[in-house]
Symmetry: C2
Subunit: 326 residues, 2 copies
Amino acid sequence: MMPWPITYDDVLAARDRIAPVLPPPPLRSYARLDEALDMHVLVKHENHQPTNAFKVRNALTAMTTLSDDEKRRGVIAATMGNYGQGLAWAGRELDVDVVICVPHGVNPDKIDAIRGFGAELVIEGETYDDAVVVQDRLVNERGLLALHGVNHPMMPAGAGTITLEIIEQCERLGESLDSMFIGVGGGSQAVGAMTVLRHRSPNTRVIGVQSAGASAIHDACRANDPAIHRKPDTIAEGLATGQTYEQTFAPLRDGLADFVTVTDAELLAAMRLIMTSTHNLIEPSAAAGVAAAINLRDAQRGRTVAVILSGANVDMRTLARILNEL
Amino acid sequence: MMPWPITYDDVLAARDRIAPVLPPPPLRSYARLDEALDMHVLVKHENHQPTNAFKVRNALTAMTTLSDDEKRRGVIAATMGNYGQGLAWAGRELDVDVVICVPHGVNPDKIDAIRGFGAELVIEGETYDDAVVVQDRLVNERGLLALHGVNHPMMPAGAGTITLEIIEQCERLGESLDSMFIGVGGGSQAVGAMTVLRHRSPNTRVIGVQSAGASAIHDACRANDPAIHRKPDTIAEGLATGQTYEQTFAPLRDGLADFVTVTDAELLAAMRLIMTSTHNLIEPSAAAGVAAAINLRDAQRGRTVAVILSGANVDMRTLARILNEL
């Protein structure tokens, strides 16, 4: 039995905790997308979440496990944006003080939203790793509780609620899911999905997708070497991780049916296709699943597949640049 | 007592009929939007509807009143796009054949979506009025039932369910609504809103908004002359009506607290602000409320107002053009 960071019951418990304030976003299909991919594509609208990104599930799942004492201490995390928005939103819901550490250069819309949800923002350093150093310093100085965005046991449980909802929505729609294409930043969505599928739909294959410009986990899984690092260079900031994480490495290595990478150009083409066919705004990382499905079209032709529109927090200048390539 | 096309009970009945398949989209606020407008802005996300536009409420409300005999005949309507998508979607839900008449030049994404929902599409003529002529011809030739997109008694009842949900969501959020800014194409949203507010929140003022390039109803209300026509010339195709409608003219003239127009440039600026602050894709007509709120900022400062993001069906080339003006 391979090591596995969470159980199916963890996902069920997470769902019970988040459901009162995060109703399931719809699962829909779009004729134009189906035609373009030659598959039946079920689209999970995490872009409809109150923070416009799935990470609010992870943040709320973690924060709802805290004791009253821990809540009074306040929480802190380093983030590239969407997890920070999720924590800030959850903090406002649960009346917990939240401090968010980001490096310089993070998407300004994400910064504004974190502030808008009432969190304290500390902008320092140049990379995510720098922000983690700031986080650790403030934990020591101010007694805050750190909630790591990936290597926390509750993150895959929170993200797993996406797949739990998808499976239940498929059952209501009478759909049988052959494959899920899931973007891998830290791996919480994919590990959460595999946890759920083993119990609810064991024949559904999970295909992991990383950006070719941030392929550390993909490369590490292929080489079975968790020490591999890659400096991220991708337009998809939600996928811009440069290393493996202890909690998700083995499950990804052992559990994924396939693990592929997509280039920035493929992400942008997929982004345009998604926006044209669904009329939902998405950020580049949310296009990972469709980008991979396009590349695997021949192998997946005619199948029923699910993709997760994981976030919508693209800034307008980036969006303009993307659309100008039409 | 002024003439009024529908009752509050019509809206309640419409809600009962549509609620099983159209759950209420969220009502949210965004700190950055509040700051930009210096108001507390409650945003109703009709862009989350399965057709990405509120018109699906009107279409389903009308179609659910049909007898089995009428359903077997099949229905037909002329449309500029969003109502056609709504009817096509409702027809698929209820297993009713739908024929949609559009003129040449309608937004290609809307055409694709209408076909995608399985409706028969007839593209003929140059204007909406031409499409109505085609519709009438096919009614005679094929015995179809015409469901007019504005002048049908169920349209304001369907659109009124938006405001019914907003008021109930406000009650849950503890919000008290001073004003609603509502775009007027045919007037169903505004007349539906006034119908609900008289019963549920009589102190909430409704401010109608038309495009300055399609101001027939605005001008007709100001002049008390329902015969006024204006050839529409606006980027907001959802507001591009050129005449008054018997059913909505008197209620708009007598019931609106104010009636204003906004230029295309103001619509585009509002569209950019909405996308930047909410990260939802919208079409130009969906920006009418925010555009008017910007213009009335001094008078409305500090108030709690609602706007309806009525649709998201913008094509990517138009969107690129808009963003390039950043």
